[in-house]
């Protein structure tokens, strides 16, 4: 527990110190790299809420990541072209306000998660995996065939959206926004995992029959967890779109779902800070191995295989020890 606390503090410290150092030596690319790690970490934390705490192996979290991204893209596109998103029956205009975009991304992702969860949570195991994957792929093919927003080519947003009092085009200021959101998300997930709801979710994952016998409803617990998970991943998608100022159907692809899952597995499933470590490690590997060979994913695959076979608790498990065994 003590080790884990120090590891968490060190991770947050490094994540803050590195871009500050990059800023001091005028290396904006490295600041963007750190921001990317943070956005991926938030996406991983979202998946981890369903996978790690609820035992829900979703291979379709790209649906929420992509939806968050497209919420940003569509609203910003209409704001910069001065056209309404919708003219009838309600007039909905675009916006360049980050907080507004985040709130809409969170709300719509949670809503989508409730819809997907209401259907997929009636199944389990491989069926659950396949249904979540199918929903994400449906959205992927839908966006490919949606010419208004760039279809397969995607859509560029020329100016990053705004945040009151900050210049979001400045990499360090945009990093600060993402870092603050990461802290808020971590605090929320930490509190939620220790709340009566989080405890019941963990208990339900261990034994559904037993949790019913004390008056809890596993389906409701899982659905709530899935909605929270989707909302967090959707928020990450909106940030990712703003980071790149670009959206494309790739955000919905199964490769994106797989990458989000890799952050969780690399860092440690079920550990609040696990996906943060996983995302940082992923970016490090991408940066270092990517420089050695364009086939760096092969090395990443080998590392992932090693983690799954020999370090099931991920990076956190290796350093801070495995979580308690479940019966």
């Amino acid at each position: 527990m003590r080790k884990e606390f120090f590891l968490n503090a060190a991770l947050l410290g490094v994540l803050l110190a590195f871009p500050l150092w990059a800023w001091s030596v005028d290396e904006p690319y490295l600041i963007t790299l750190a921001t990317r790690a943070i956005v991926f970490a938030i996406a991983g934390i979202g998946l981890n809420f369903a996978l790690g705490f609820g035992g829900l192996v979703s291979l379709g979290h790209a649906a929420f990541f992509g939806l968050g991204g497209y919420v940003m893209g569509v609203l910003a596109f209409h704001a910069q072209t001065y056209t309404p998103v919708m003219g009838w029956p309600l007039v909905i205009n675009g916006t360049k306000s980050m907080p507004t975009i985040w709130l809409i991304a969170i709300a719509l992702s949670a809503l989508l998660a409730v819809g997907i969860g209401a259907l997929s949570l009636r199944t389990s195991g491989v069926y659950f995996i396949m249904i979540t994957l199918a929903f994400a792929q449906m959205l992927y093919y839908f966006t490919i065939s949606w010419p208004t927003y760039g279809g397969e080519d995607g859509l560029s947003i020329y100016v990053r959206n705004g945040f009151p009092g900050l210049n979001t085009m400045d990499p360090i200021q945009f990093f600060a926004i993402c870092y603050a959101i990461l802290l808020i998300v971590l605090a929320f997930v930490f509190a939620a995992s220790r709340s009566p709801f989080g405890l019941a979710l963990g208990a339900s994952r261990q034994n559904e029959e037993r949790i019913q016998a004390v008056g809890q409803v596993p389906f409701r617990l899982y659905l709530t967890a899935f909605a929270i998970s989707g909302a967090i991943t959707g928020l990450a998608g909106a940030l990712f779109a703003d980071l790149n100022r670009f959206i494309s159907p790739t955000m919905f692809s199964w490769q994106t779902s797989g990458e989000i899952m890799i952050f969780v597995i690399l860092g440690g499933v079920g550990r609040v800070f696990g996906p943060v470590a996983g995302a940082v490690l992923f970016i490090l590997l991408e940066h270092t191995l990517g420089g050695l060979s364009e086939f760096w994913h092969i090395y990443l695959g080998a590392i992932l295989l090693g983690v799954v076979l020999f370090a099931r608790g991920g990076l956190y498990g290796m350093v801070a020890g495995r979580e308690v065994a479940h019966d």
Binding site: P196, L199, A200, G202, A203, Q206, N207, E209, R210, I211, Q212, A213, V214, G215, Q216, V217, E323, V324, A325, H326, D327
Partner: protein, 229 residues
Amino acid sequence: MSLLKLSNISAFYGASQALFDVHLSLEDGQVLAMMGRNGMGKSTTIKVICRLLKHRGGTTMFGGRDIKRLPAHKVARLGIGLVPEGRRCFTNLTVHENLIVAAQPGEWDFSAIATLFPRLEERKDQLSHSLSGGEQQMLAIGRALMTNPRLLILDEATEGLAPVVRNEIWDAIARLKTQTGMAILVIDKSIKELARVADTAVILEKGRSVWHGAFTELTPDITDRYLGV
């Protein structure tokens, strides 16, 4: 009116019938001992009461309400607290968390449980898998009490425990009976210990309720015939 009344219950595991016309009734504030050799349908009957197993025939009335079509969590919220066989604590949670997760509004809260089982107070931040068998059993009882039940069901609550711990558990059950007036359904093999607390008894054999009456009417002839003791 009985607090719990089972009439003509038949239940199946797949195609295999486990219960045949089981009858039993339990009054408010009384303790019912459910007895029988291994594999006679005691735990299956408990599962039927808690709606963890759907039964095909018969009626299950609790507090004057037919609970046959209710899901398990609603039955628990109606006031049936289960201490399952083999303790079955949530091993990934601490003692305190195991209790919190089951909490329903009522007089039973953590401090009331700690008064009944002071050992749980001492170990409240310990993961439940690190407790001794007796402590895990106390935790399982505490968890069921946290649902503030009108009926507490104990399935083999003292099985496999050391004599000193068994006594502690039986003392707690006796205290629950006298101090709270809670209805209790207890499954156990020890007739001597059951005699301390039970008002009535039901005996199951091959999935049928073959004897039902006051515990004091349980003669050696009956126990010899159905329990083989």
